[in-house]
């Protein structure tokens, strides 16, 4: 709190902390002693200003993410009135509340549905497998860059970041074509007279495309984390008698723990709720819940069921998100001296 910079943002203009303090005593003006009340007052003004400046994005999120989610959850419990009435008007197979708090009818219907159960399994499978593969690849690349360096390692990193430059729609389409029945992979096998595998429109294609799309972020995160481990700490481990493998597992990876966890959680959360990738590359059935949500909403006109699925995915994603928050808090606790 030693400096007093001002962003000059419009919201901050309302409060001016250079104005005379409200404190009634004039003792502060007579000597170099600071008036504790004035200091407290200024701290409060700063705190309020921070809160004001930080609010707009939060309000936006609250209004257009938090509120609709609450609304939707209410709807999934059978509250069809109020703002939900327009949706409820056109919806089919609706469960309307039977108790004051609602009904679990929609949940019962969806959760016992065999197709949902199968697609939930597929969703979780794709999420776990893709995240594991992405993380493994990202770590190999990051460690290679850290420990070997040189142009080859740099080139490898650059190549792995290329997908970031490509829109997801295009990426999914490109991956699909590559592994399609008439795609590159099968054409290559056919050159030598072999029958190559067809991944297009399979769960495997979904995983391939997810890995393809998620790799850049994970590589950047892991590389940044591994790169931030100071040379001296690696040298110290080797000086203590640790080989490369041991140095990696005892020093580099634990120190890069937070960025790695962030890479993993963001990757997993992105994949578990994804729509475009499974929509383009996957089979009609089984597929991931993101596609089911869209189908139930637009094709079958059953928004309530769609919301129930979203809530289930949300619960799973929240569990992953908790890991992210925990890792962040753990890190700031550790670094605080």
């Amino acid at each position: 709190m030693s400096s007093d910079p001002d962003a000059g943002a419009p919201v901050a203009g309302a409060v001016d902390d250079d104005a005379p303090a409200a404190a009634p005593t004039s003792a502060a003006a007579t000597g170099t002693l600071t008036n504790p009340r004035r200091v407290r007052h200024r701290a409060r003004v700063r705190s309020l200003r921070g809160l004001l400046m930080a609010s707009p994005p939060l309000l936006l999120i609250a209004a257009f993410t938090g509120f609709p989610i609450v609304l939707a959850i209410a709807y999934s419990l059978g509250h069809t009135g109020g703002l939900n009435s327009t949706t409820a008007l056109i919806a089919q197979h609706q469960h309307v509340k039977t108790e004051w708090w609602g009904t679990l009818g929609a949940y019962r219907e969806v959760l016992t549905n065999e197709r949902f159960q199968r697609d939930l399994r597929v969703t979780l499978l794709v999420t776990v497998v893709s995240t594991t593969v992405v993380l493994a690849l990202a770590l190999i690349i990051a460690l290679y860059l850290r420990l070997a360096g040189g142009w080859a390692a740099k080139a490898l990193t650059v190549v792995s970041v290329v997908p970031m430059f490509i829109p997801v729609v295009i990426a999914s389409w490109a991956v699909l074509m590559f592994y399609a029945p008439d795609g590159f992979l099968r054409s290559l096998f056919a050159q030598v007279g072999l029958e190559g595998p067809t991944f297009g429109y399979t769960v495997t294609a979904i995983i391939i495309a997810q890995v393809w799309c998620s790799l850049p972020f994970a590589v950047l995160m892991c590389a940044s984390g591994v790169q931030a481990v100071p040379d001296a700490l690696i040298d110290a481990a080797r000086d203590s008698g640790a080989g490369l493998v041991r140095t990696t597992f005892s020093v580099i990876l634990p120190m890069a723990f937070v960025p790695i966890v962030i890479a993993a959680t963001f990757t997993a959360i992105g994949i578990i709720g994804s729509f475009t990738v499974p929509y383009f590359t996957g089979p009609t059935a089984p597929t991931m819940l993101g596609v089911d949500m869209a189908n139930y909403f637009t094709a079958y006109n059953r928004p309530q069921q769609s919301i129930v699925m979203a809530v289930v995915v949300f619960v799973a994603a929240s569990l992953i998100a908790v890991t992210y928050v925990w890792a962040n808090f753990r890190s700031s606790k550790e670094s605080g001296a």
Binding site: D235, A236, A237, R238, S240, G241, A242, S250, V251, E334
Partner: protein
């Protein structure tokens, strides 16, 4: 006297530049040798070659009779205390110190015992479960020292071990390190750019310049009998005069530099016997002594250290010169 560490003709180039040039040095067992020099002189490079982080283009590193030149750092019997201590922030003090022993696959009981012993030696027992981020700079330094000592290395390497401590702590810690080093009789190479530190701690000092060792001597000898102009200038204060300076006058001589320590310049009353006439140009008090700059022999300015009441600026005085060294091409000549 056995040789704890031998460096034979070490040569290192980095990016086409010669950093260390044909460097040889013998360190006796139990001896503490300081590599002293300005930044960029190659002292840290030399230390990193001893530790194994850099591979010399030619030359050998021999520890207690074994050639370790081709071994990676983890296989060498040396242990290093890094400049910024390089403590692993995710491990406690105990875990940091125990790590080398765990790598060496020592039995659990032995690890606990040795770690406890070394933590007691560096007086850190009360912090054994703290993380490095939560202890003071001096304590971090001692942790780093403990982590090196616990390995019972044949050679201890110290890379500017005191540079991150404040001035008061530095004096105490250097005494502590020296005391522990002598008690354990451990062969030690230390890198520093601080001559006071080197003087206070080392058995011998190797002054380095431009990738070469200029002189290896005891601290006293280094000060009173420097063999090169660089050593004379780098260690302590020095008056330098072009030409041949003698107690009774100055004769011009091309390529010859005369040098005299301020202590060897005595300020005496004007027209004293055998003294040169001089005028006081500036007086800088330093508490227990004053730095007095005089002008003599025309344009020659000399600095003298005066312990008694100093003369005033503008006073006419006499100067009596003690031992004068002469250098030609940087080398000491008669």
């Amino acid at each position: 006297m056995t040789t704890g560490l031998q460096l034979e003709g070490l040569h290192k180039e980095l990016g086409g530049r010669t950093i260390v040039e044909n460097l040889s040095l013998d360190v006796a067992t139990g001896e503490l040798v300081c590599l002293l020099g300005p930044s960029g002189c190659g002292k840290t490079t030399t230390l990193r070659m001893i530790a194994g982080f850099l591979e010399p283009e030619s030359g050998r590193v021999v520890v207690a009779g074994h050639d370790v030149t081709s071994l990676p750092p983890e296989k060498r019997p040396s242990a290093m205390v890094f400049q910024n201590y390089a403590l692993w922030p995710h491990m406690t003090v105990t875990k940091n110190v125990a790590f080398p022993l765990r790598l060496a696959k020592r039995p659990r009981a032995e690890i606990a015992e040795r770690v406890a012993k070394v933590l007691e030696l560096v007086n850190l027992t009360h912090h054994k479960d703290s993380r490095p981020g939560r202890i003071s700079g001096g304590e971090q330094q001692r942790t780093a020292l403990a982590r090196a000592l616990v390995q019972e290395p044949a050679v201890l390497l110290l890379d500017e071990p005191l540079s991150n401590l404040d001035a008061k702590l530095r004096v105490r810690v250097r005494e502590d390190i020296r005391e522990i080093q002598q008690r354990l009789g451990i062969t030690t190479v230390m890198v520093t750019h601080d001559q006071d530190e080197a003087m206070a701690m080392a058995d011998r000092i190797a002054v380095m310049n431009d990738g070469r060792i200029e002189q290896v001597s005891s601290p006293q000898e280094l000060y009173s009998d420097p063999q090169t102009e660089f050593v004379a200038t780098f260690v302590g204060s020095l008056n330098k005069v072009e030409g041949r300076l003698e107690p009774h006058g100055l004769t011009p001589e091309a390529g010859l530099t005369s040098a005299i320590r301020p202590e060897a310049v005595a300020v005496v009353p004007a027209s004293s016997d055998g003294a040169l006439d001089a005028e006081v140009v500036r007086v800088t008090p330093h508490g227990h002594f004053a730095e007095v700059k005089v002008k003599t022999l025309g344009e020659v300015e000399l600095v003298s250290f005066v312990t008694g009441p100093p003369p005033a600026e503008g006073d006419q005085v006499g100067v009596r010169l003690g031992e004068v060294w002469r250098f030609r091409d940087g080398k000491r000549v008669r």
